[in-house]
């Protein structure tokens, strides 16, 4: 797909995936955002990803479309006996996670390195 994307995806190692949600998610049609999410789910399954880190360094908040995408990715990685953690979460994004009761669902770390280290321990 050309143009704006909902996530930037990077590999940290064979079993770890870094997802960076982009501010431009609202400028995507919802169906495009969910198509991206489906691609991500396929990648997690195909590559046997055990660790997913969602790095919020590009977003000051997280809207419901993104929350739904993250919920689906987390569900997939948990089904593969892996786990998901978040990092670089702004105060407002943390407030949103608390409101929707996701704050305790995923561990939150200050940096990507700390998140990766904690998930590997």
């Amino acid at each position: 797909m050309n143009g704006p994307r909902a996530f930037l995806v990077q590999r940290d190692s064979d079993d770890a995936l870094i997802i960076i949600p982009q501010r431009s998610i609202t400028s995507l049609a919802e169906d495009e955002a969910f198509t991206e999410m489906e691609d991500l789910l396929l990648q997690v399954e195909k590559d046997g990803i055990k660790i997913v880190i969602v790095d919020f360094k590009q977003s000051s908040y997280v809207a419901s479309t993104m929350l739904e995408a993250l919920r689906a990715v987390s569900k997939k990685v948990l089904s593969l006996n892996g786990g998901m953690a978040l990092c670089n979460v702004s105060d407002v994004a943390r407030e949103i996670l608390r409101l929707v009761k996701f704050e305790t669902r995923w561990p939150i770390h200050s940096t990507r390195e700390k998140a990766l280290k904690a998930m590997r321990e």
Partner: protein, 304 residues
């Protein structure tokens, strides 16, 4: 006389920059040796501009850019960069720095860059002051059912509220979240009439239906109507779609967060959390969001 704060861990560079700045033009120059000291200092003595080294051992230039951007009175920052730190400089610009000058070109570029930034900042500050004197604001927008217009519209509305000093930086983000959710609802669930509950049961069917209706003039030619009213006490956003509406008693009965595994219902929760009042019309195709003015900030945005 403009007040400029120079932040650098090197005493030699601090001295050099201070000399360059005050050489030909009247300027009150203060100094700090790292980002934290700078933050403490500007909390006590506001400045008009900061010139900071990008690379410092404790609280570097990027940290300073972040801290100042989050503050109630953002100040423009010009960064000084060493050779090889261009990528970091670009990151700093993306995070809100006003500009950067390579250290090797300080003698030639620093003063003109600082003067230009100060002039721009003063102009913006005057616009901001003017906006705070606007007592009422009424605007109406009729936008096409185009998802690409949502983000710029949200940003525009946030800016209107911000310029009228009705919220701080955090409040501005919260308002943006609520508006984004309400506009996305109007577009997909209102005008395209795609039920969000379908996402929980069949994501593929949900996507296909959205795609189908985005091509169907009966649905995609509908518009979203937005009315903005700003008064000294509150901001009112009225968002109406051209769909048939929905049974609003469905949301009135579920003010709590949806189940963790539910695929829908979180948008409405966020709208309610971040707005002071949320009222639907009887049909369910128009929502009125009210945000009361927060304690009016003592400073005009960007003026200090």
């Amino acid at each position: 006389v403009p007040r400029v704060l120079v932040v650098d861990d090197s005493p030699v560079d601090r001295h050099l920059v201070g000399r360059l700045l005050a050489a030909d033009v009247p300027m009150e120059v203060q100094f700090a040796s790292d980002g934290q000291e700078a933050i403490d200092l500007i909390a006590r003595h506001p400045v008009d501009l900061i010139v900071a080294d990008l690379d410092m051992p404790a609280a570097d230039g990027l940290d300073l850019v972040d801290a100042v951007a989050q503050s109630k009175s953002p100040v423009p920052i010009v960064l000084m960069t060493a050779k090889g730190s261009e990528t970091l400089a670009v990151a700093a610009l993306q995070r809100g720095a006003a500009g950067y000058v390579p250290k090797r070109s300080l003698a030639k570029l620093l003063l003109p860059t600082v003067q230009r930034t100060l002039a721009l900042s003063e102009r913006q500050s005057n616009v901001n002051r003017l906006m705070t004197q606007m007592v009422w604001r009424n605007e109406q927008l009729h936008i096409d059912n185009d998802h690409q217009l949502i983000l710029p519209l949200v940003q525009y509305l946030q800016q209107c509220v911000w310029l009228n000093r009705h919220c701080d930086a955090t409040g501005r983000v919260r308002i943006g979240v609520a508006l984004e959710e309400a506009l996305v609802n109007a577009l997909y669930h209102g005008n395209l009439e795609v039920d969000s509950a379908l996402r929980s049961t069949d994501r593929k069917q949900y996507r296909d239906l959205v795609q189908q209706r985005l091509q169907n003039p009966f649905y995609c030619d509908r518009q979203i109507h937005v009315r903005l009213t700003i008064s000294p006490e509150k901001v009112i956003f009225v968002i109406r779609d051209e769909g048939p509406g929905f049974d609003t008693s469905r949301i009135a009965q579920s003010p709590e967060a949806p189940d963790l595994d539910s695929a829908s219902g979180r948008g409405m929760l966020l709208i309610r959390a971040f707005m002071d009042e949320v009222v639907y019309n009887s049909v369910g195709n128009e929502v009125t969001l009210v945000k009361r003015a927060e304690a009016v900030l003592q400073s005009t945005p960007g003026s200090e």
